[in-house]
């Protein structure tokens, strides 16, 4: 019941936004919806953490989903605050019409609905439907600006992701076929809550085949190389708040799908899915390092960095064990917090300079002082410097690799990280200093507040990592790794 209510909220608000008589209040209406979602998610999560998994009919929420849900609710709410001023600015500049703004808010609500659906459904089949719907709901947001480039990005996005998702359906089907062997004709044979219990008895050949399709399919959506090609296009062409949501939340949803299947496959065929994840992860980080060093577009650079971090998460899952899993979870959270902050501040920069070209952006710290500072902090965080949370995640992953004796993986991982570090630093440092000749302008509070909160949360995760959180994470790791 609570879950249905949670899912209905964004749907209802999409309807409200579509039907609202006046354009003036739509932004705030939309934000109200995001706020309500946040409150409900907090409530739900509290319940789940206290009382264990919530298993109600179609819905199933356990600790793993709680982490993703919390990230989703918090970040989408903060991005919602930011979007008020961002979209307002575009309206003011005449880039958008009031109709576009209404369109934006309607689709943001739908987008959020589909992403929430991914996290709360029990059946892996329904999860597939939800993941496909995220593509459909966000395609219009990618093509939002109706320019040639954004049209191209949207087309690539919807085609490549649909193909990927179609392949994933094959994986789901094969998984279902294998579980039918155990359950007979049962309507619950695709439910995760049931499947994880019997994972070890499923047919290994079918599961192997299934996971290959799943990693090719959901991996496309998660931006793992070499299926990543839609990602930089879509992230760079979408409006910055949407980029932030896609990078910080949408990729997580796909990763969540992979994790669900990974757990089952790993239980039946130890070592198969983890080595695949490891391979795709390493390739993704390497590809991202290469492209970060040659791209000329600020938002594309951030997008490639998202590929890198999804690769790191895949590597962490591939290493496995308790610490590998803790590392993966921390890294997912750290990346979401840091990357959304980066995309928001980059949105400010792009609006201020009117270009995404890295070479023509200089003196960020002078022309937009506060957003510039957040941008700097974000860049330092994303390359993995302490005390930011990504450092923590990466350190735990290296520790996990060393502990499990994968010295080669640890060494490769460190070398790749170093490459990314050099490439990224080389690109962002020149943007900070110098003088752009632009009049310094203060950023409105509605933009700084979300970035500030994201930064504080990130630092809290990186610096303090409060005891209960770590305990909770180990608990989660036991759930993912426990079956391993």
């Amino acid at each position: 019941m609570m879950v249905s209510l949670l899912l209905c909220t964004p749907l209802l608000f999409a309807l409200f936004c579509a039907l609202a008589p006046s354009n003036r209040w739509i932004g705030r209406l939309s934000l109200l919806g995001l706020g309500l979602v946040l409150i409900q998610v907090l409530d739900l999560s509290y319940g789940v953490i206290q009382n264990g998994p919530l298993d109600a009919g179609m819905w199933y929420i356990d600790d793993i989903s709680v982490i993703f849900l919390l990230l989703m609710a918090v970040i989408s709410f903060l991005v919602g605050i930011y979007a008020l001023s961002y979209i307002g600015h575009e309206l003011h500049e005449g880039v958008l019409t009031p109709r576009d703004s209404r369109f934006y808010h309607v689709f943001i609500q739908l987008f959020l609905f589909t992403m929430l659906l991914v996290l709360v459904v029990d059946s892996l089949g329904l999860m597939w439907i939800a993941i496909e719907s995220t593509t459909l709901a966000s395609a219009f947001l990618v093509g939002f600006y109706k320019k040639e480039e954004s049209l191209e990005a949207a087309w690539k996005y919807i085609m490549i992701c649909s193909v990927g998702i179609a392949l994933a359906l094959m994986g789901v089907t094969l998984m279902y076929a294998s579980s039918l062997d155990v359950f007979g004709d049962s309507s619950r044979a695709l439910d995760w809550s049931v499947l994880k219990g019997v994972a070890a008895t499923l047919d290994p050949t079918l599961l192997k085949l299934s996971f290959i399709f799943i990693i090719a399919g959901y991996g496309t959506k998660a931006g793992l190389a070499p299926m990543h090609t839609w990602l930089p296009d879509a992230h760079s062409q979408a409006p910055s708040p949407v980029s932030a949501m896609m990078s910080a939340l949408l990729l997580n949803c796909a990763m969540y799908g992979i994790i669900r299947f990974h757990v089952i496959t790993e239980a039946a065929v130890p070592g198969f899915s983890s080595s695949l994840l490891l391979g795709f992860g390493l390739v993704s980080v390497a590809v991202a390092a290469l492209f970060i060093s040659i791209t000329t577009d600020l938002k594309r650079m951030l997008a490639y960095s998202s590929i890198e971090h999804m690769g790191i998460v895949a590597i962490a899952l591939g290493i496995g064990g308790t610490w590998g899993t803790v590392g993966a979870v921390i890294h997912i959270a750290a990346h979401s917090l840091t990357k959304s902050m980066l995309f928001l501040s980059a949105g400010d920069i792009v609006q201020k300079y009117g270009t995404r070209d890295i070479a023509s952006i200089t003196g960020v710290l002078k022309s937009i002082p506060w957003s510039g500072r957040f941008f700097t902090a974000g860049c330092l965080g994303i390359v993995g410097l302490p005390p930011f949370p990504i450092f923590l995640g990466e350190a735990i992953i290296v520790y996990a690799a060393l502990q499990s004796g994968d010295f080669l993986v640890a060494a490769l991982f460190l070398v790749l990280l170093l490459m990314v570090f050099v490439a990224f630093t080389y690109r962002f440092v020149p943007m900070l200093g110098g003088d752009s000749g632009l009049e310094p302008s203060p950023s409105p509070l509605s933009r700084l507040l979300p970035m500030g909160i994201l930064l504080i949360m990130g630092l809290a995760l990186g610096l303090v990592l409060p005891g209960p959180v770590l305990e909770f994470l180990q608990d989660v790791a036991a759930q993912i790794g426990g079956v391993l």
């Binding site: 191209e152 089907t173 039918l180 791209t295 594309r300």
Partner: protein, 218 residues
């Protein structure tokens, strides 16, 4: 009886595969849509037959939805789209017809090879259907890769989905009904959205050739 049933299922499955191969050989849009319609019809027949064999009623529902959606609504929408975009045929596929056919044959071999070790399924279906569904899916992907027109890519995706449905029907006699419904809904919405984007591409670039979409790189 079951032997005969198995045989007719095999024939239908091969028919579906043949439709995919035929799609690789034609550059004409109208023909492509007709082939897709035929393939969907065979798929519906297969669903009904499996439903008859196993006595699960929800496969009949699935069969009728396939007929409604993939034999009537979607082909009509596609025809409307090609009329509006004014695209009759694929001018230069990236790979010639003999090449793509041979590649498709290789895909079929690969599909059989990959599904070869799957033994546990022999009771539920013939492995043949699984291999063919895999092949149809991958050939759909090949169609998307080797063609340039936006609408051909959409049809390729739809053929991929037919392959997936073949897998769903043959390996597991259909997923739970709610999942199937959701999948159908997604397919319909996806096709409509893609159609809308194809219109927009046509308006903006004055061609529906997607190979001009090369602005974004690095």
């Amino acid at each position: 009886m079951t032997e005969i049933m198995m045989n007719s299922l095999n024939i239908l499955a091969v028919g579906i595969l043949l439709a995919s191969l035929m799609a690789m050989t034609t550059p004409r849009m109208g023909q492509l849509i007709r082939i897709f319609t035929l393939q969907s019809l065979m798929l519906a027949g297969m669903a009904a037959l499996v439903g008859y064999q196993t006595g699960s009623e929800h496969l009949y529902i699935i069969a009728s939805i396939i007929v409604l959606l993939k034999v009537f609504i979607i082909p009509r929408f596609l025809n409307y789209s090609i009329e509006r975009i004014k695209v009759k045929r694929e001018l230069e596929p990236l790979l010639g017809i003999p090449g793509s056919l041979l590649l498709s044959a290789a895909i079929v071999v690969l599909a059989y090879f990959v599904t070869e070790p799957v033994i546990s399924l022999t009771e539920v279906i013939t492995r043949n259907c699984l291999a063919i569904s895999l092949a149809v899916t991958l050939i759909g992907l090949l169609l998307m890769i080797t063609r340039r027109k936006a609408m051909t890519e959409v049809i390729g995706l739809l053929m991929m989905e037919n392959g997936l449905f073949l897998a769903v029907i043959s390996t597991s006699h259909g997923m739970p009904l709610i999942v199937e419904m959701g999948i159908f809904f997604d397919v319909l919405v996806a096709v409509i959205i893609m159609g809308m984007f194809a219109f927009r591409i046509n308006e903006t670039f004055e061609t529906s050739d997607t190979s001009i979409l090369k602005r974004l790189r690095y």
